[in-house]
Symmetry: C2
Subunit: 303 residues, 2 copies
């Protein structure tokens, strides 16, 4: 089943201890889409400027991503400039130029409106609700958010949370949103705001999935080279939603595998700059790393 994703498409300039790139393809919707495309058809809604290179659009199309919702408008593409020092968990933003993204108002093409799976990337919670108004009743709505919206638009965010099934959020932001340092209590508090389940992203420490009854814990894949963490969270989201849309059911087992597939995709993404690694995968590679996650976490019960 197909996935509708709304978010940013950006040109990123990133410096890590291992190198740097200038104006490379980035943005939450981009990482999400290419990641999810290995599992399910993806329809993207985003905005770019006139300077957005055609080859990036072609890359999305090469992954069978429907770009009829990718609007090109006059002005410049959203740009983000950041660096990672030796702590690769922590991006330092050097510059943000919203450009055409400042006036982004997502218009959902007719052909997208019956998407069963909707992922609301990290944009203004008011815009996230605008998206939901334009789609028919989806089977599953997940959304991402960040400290910026938690601080600036807490009431709007809470209105949005009432409408989503799953919130996908960083650990620190989950604590901030709940106003609670204990993560288990924070998860309960967030679930009482609307979402039926919560995915907590913990960077190199993996991810936790909370629903009312259960917790599932996934590690990050231990890599000997983490090249560039940019987009890891959105790649995770793409693998997570991609697998759910692929399997079509929402059982406990499905969510567990989805969290692992999210972790698989994030682990590939950080192996190179931009979409360089994520855009060159194939199903056997993905499946092999999924199986490596099994070896990484498996233990036998006592007889």
């Amino acid at each position: 089943m197909s996935i509708l994703v709304v978010g940013s498409v950006a040109l990123d300039s990133v410096k890590t201890p291992f190198g740097k790139v200038e104006d490379a393809l980035g943005g939450s919707a981009t990482y999400f889409s290419i990641s999810a495309s290995y599992f399910s058809p993806v329809k993207v809604v985003a905005v770019v400027g006139e300077d957005f290179p055609d080859r990036h659009v072609k890359l999305l199309q090469h992954h069978k991503i429907d770009v009829s919702g990718l609007k090109k408008v006059s002005g410049k593409t959203f740009r983000w400039k950041g660096q990672y020092l030796y702590d690769l968990n922590q991006a330092e933003t050097l510059d943000t130029q919203l450009n055409v993204f400042a006036d982004f108002s997502p218009e959902i093409p007719q052909s997208y409106r019956d998407s069963n799976y909707v992922f609301l990337g990290n944009i203004d919670p008011e815009l996230q609700r605008e998206v939901l108004k334009q789609v028919k009743r989806p089977k599953l709505v997940a959304c991402d958010t960040m400290n910026f919206w938690i601080e600036r638009k807490p009431q709007e965010l809470k209105k949005t949370l009432k409408l989503v099934d799953i919130l996908v959020i960083n650990e620190g932001e989950a604590r901030q949103l709940a106003g609670e340092s204990n993560l288990v209590k924070a998860a309960k508090a967030i679930c009482s705001m609307g979402p039926k389940a919560l995915v907590v992203k913990r960077g190199e420490y993996g991810a936790l999935f909370f629903n009312c009854a259960r917790v599932f814990s996934a590690p990050a894949y231990p890599l000997d080279t983490v090249f560039d963490p940019t987009g890891a969270g959105d790649s995770f989201g793409g693998g997570f939603m991609g697998y759910l849309a692929k399997c079509g059911t929402l059982r406990d087992d499905d969510f567990r595998r989805a969290i692992i597939f999210g972790s698989v995709m994030a682990s590939f993404n950080v192996e190179d700059f931009s979409l360089n690694r994520l855009s060159k995968l194939n199903w056997p590679l993905i499946r092999k790393r999924f199986e490596q996650f099994k070896k990484l976490t498996h233990f036998e019960l006592l007889a």
Copy 2:
């Protein structure tokens, strides 16, 4: 099979956001011993002062811990005073009084010398080697260390590492010891210093087990109340070594379960101050939480 542990026995004064205790039973050997005692017989080597309350010795004996190596000497018992603020991962030391521990020179009683499993708690690496000189060839030697020894006695520590099978260490200290921020590379570097395997303790993020061929990742148990993290690492060590000594073999499966049992014991320990929780467990409770770790991490492979 029995375990010999050498380490500190202390009186701790601890303050957390949830309360405080004064001169409560603590110390690495104490947490380790009581934790391990649920799995295997334990023989402890440590030193206390004349002020050490008899009831603490009785608590150890109640857990069938052999205290013939627990020396009482003139002077005061080692005291540690610390607090945890809202970040329960980070202890702030307010005061350390080594007292009788300053002149600790471990003497291994004859009846301890054929112990098959030896755990060298976090003491001076020279003393750790003194212990090894006094025991017959054990089946498995594990040791703990900390930033203090990495900074002050790096050469002595490296000599000790050549003699141990498994190093059990905190994540930050693993990075510090290896001089390498990437944990996978750090683990390889440490294994090249001598240990065949490495247990990396990550607090609320669980633990990783590295040996030359494999990595195993265990989460921490998600608790809605972490009361006092003091002793979590040593409780982990006790569950880990305790299970290995109980099962008697050293296969990959055994190490995986041992890491989970370590995580189980650490999760109980943080639920109350001092040894309050750890000293009141029983096998059905331990086994039940072990099974909960399975539910926490289990996912099915694809068909």
